[in-house]
């Protein structure tokens, strides 16, 4: 099924189309490895996984074309301007020049970045960069977008604007797979999983997990689980 994926290994889970799925875990729990397998840049040793309907073993290139990806560490080229970055990533995903032009205009307008269209991305505040990076990751209208700690260090107001972009995108049917260390953001997800030592120790809606562990916040669930 498009927009859905199934990952089965030491870890097993399904993410539904249009769902915001929070992928939580302590540092070193295996989140990055799992994410690398899902985006087609690392082959799992055992098991079976489908992303956007494509097999991670046989069709990693199809996966790459059908997903969007941004991370805290790398998302855009600092030495290119805002417009150049959009054109570059649009080009990589095979968008026509005309479409890139239309999309650039839409994107600048939506983010209110018209005034910095020709500014180097490296000189923008982190929050602007991250919102731009998210929009760029959505340029080719992927079925799924993977966000690896997209809001780390971002100010609290911009962090919320970023999540409103996530909500909007999910509302339009894009599947969102997101990692974060902000436990309040975990509560924004439809469902979350908590990974401990390479295994998924909890998977449910934030509400159900809080009920299950009899606590008031996901932070407390995390603290109970993450050290085993």
């Amino acid at each position: 099924m498009f927009g859905d994926f199934t990952a089965v290994n030491a870890i097993t889970f399904d993410v539904k189309q249009g769902e915001i799925f929070g992928f939580l875990g302590a540092n070193g729990a295996g989140k990055t490895t799992a994410m690398k397998m899902l985006i087609g840049i690392l082959r799992p040793t055992h098991g079976h996984a489908l992303v956007a309907g494509f097999d991670v073993y046989k069709q990693p290139e199809s996966i790459k074309r059908n997903i969007g990806y941004m991370s805290q560490k790398f998302a855009l080229y600092n030495d290119l301007t805002v417009t150049e970055n959009v054109a570059f990533f649009g080009g990589i995903y095979g968008l026509s020049k005309a479409l890139i032009k239309t999309k650039t205009k839409m994107l600048l307008d939506e983010l209110g970045l018209e005034n910095v269209a020709n500014t180097l991305v490296g000189s923008l505040p982190l929050g602007w960069k991250q919102k731009l990076a998210f929009s760029v990751a959505l340029l080719h209208e992927p079925k799924i977008v993977f966000l690896d700690e997209p809001t780390g260090g971002v100010d609290p107001i911009t962090r919320r604007q970023f999540w409103e972009m996530i909500y909007k995108s999910a509302n339009q049917g894009t599947t969102i797979f997101v990692t974060t260390h902000y436990m309040d953001e975990a509560e924004y997800c439809d469902r979350i999983s908590i990974m401990v030592n390479g295994k998924i120790e909890a998977l449910d809606t934030p509400e159900m997990l809080k009920r299950q562990f009899n606590v008031a916040t996901i932070n407390e669930v995390f603290l109970k689980l993450a050290r085993g």
């Binding site: 540092n27 929050g127 260090g153 100010d155 107001i157 409103e164 436990m183 509560e187 509400e207």
Partner: protein, 300 residues
């Protein structure tokens, strides 16, 4: 003693990174510099650790001037920069020994101070620093910053990118260092960590928004916050933004924090409005503000 900043300003290429920053950190205090990326926190640290000279203003660290007495300051402070800055090609033990040696001391002499942290990374003491996990790097960096028994410890975003459990452990460690008489200036973008400091300065765009104890800062929040929930969060946020009387609408964990422009308003009226927007399972309750609410209100 402690730290004093008096009208410190600093620009980079004409852009003001810090504008007339003044605050004091008392001897033995655990003081937090709370603000997002780009607020100017690192510039404050670099000025106080004598690595950068301010354009204007004066600053004292442990009673010493950051410009005139820079050499003495460097002997008596510990600094953990935001970016991992140890030698990646040296092992855990070699890094620690290196820092002890350049400060004219030995690991054995101050082992008591770092023991509790060091035992956690000791099993990996022959591993190269570059090969450590994020959490272990952070612990090694803290050991290296402490090995000469500094009077004042500067920690620039020690917990950024660190998971909540490790963050909690790190703060427990800081509290114990404070009890040993070390003055600590720590920065963080995590607002929940602010509550763990004796006093905090909220900083954004190179300016101090407020300085006080966490409790006092929260008490000064000017509005009444209502915690709102409904069946669909995205629609709820959109609806609240079109209500017409809203002052602020911010998603906050499971709920949305809402403030109204009016001093007195009828919760039932808002409830009816949300119902008219096809929302169900609506709950509206008054809640106490947090540091994050205050920060957002001040930063607006």
């Amino acid at each position: 003693m402690g730290i004093t900043l008096d009208n410190i300003s600093k620009s980079y290429n004409g852009i003001k990174a810090l504008e007339n920053i003044s605050f004091e950190v008392n001897d033995g205090e655990l003081f937090g510099l709370i603000g997002p990326d780009g607020a100017g926190k690192t510039t404050v640290f670099r000025i106080l650790t004598t690595l950068l000279i301010a354009d204007e203003g004066n600053a004292n660290v442990a009673g010493l001037d950051v410009v005139a007495d820079y050499k003495t300051i460097r002997q008596s402070v510990g600094y953990m920069p935001g970016k991992f800055s140890l030698y990646q090609d040296l092992t855990v033990e070699e890094n620690l020994k290196f820092f002890a040696t350049i400060f004219g001391t030995t690991i054995a002499e101050n082992y008591d101070l770092i023991k509790e942290i060091y035992v956690q990374i000791e099993p990996f003491k022959t591993r190269r620093a570059g090969k450590l996990s994020g959490g272990m790097k952070q612990k090694l960096a803290l050991c290296c910053a402490l090995i000469h028994k500094p009077k004042i410890l500067f920690l620039d975003e020690p917990t950024t990118g660190v998971d909540p459990v490790s963050r909690k452990e790190f703060w427990e460690m800081l509290k114990r260092l404070q009890q040993k008489g070390i003055t600590i200036l720590v920065s963080t973008p995590y607002m929940d960590e602010a509550a763990l400091c004796d006093r905090i300065a909220l900083i954004q765009n190179g300016k101090i928004l407020q300085i006080d104890t966490p409790d006092a800062i929260v008490k000064q929040y000017p509005k009444t916050i209502f915690c709102v929930n409904a069946n669909n969060k995205y629609q709820l946020i959109e609806a609240l933004k079109t209500y017409g009387h809203q002052h602020s609408v911010y998603p906050f964990g499971e709920f949305v924090h809402y403030t109204d422009q009016r001093n007195i308003f009828d919760v039932e009226d808002l409830k009816a409005f949300l119902k008219s927007q096809n929302l169900s399972k609506i709950t509206i309750e008054q809640v106490q503000p947090t540091i994050e609410d205050t920060f957002m209100e001040l930063a607006r």
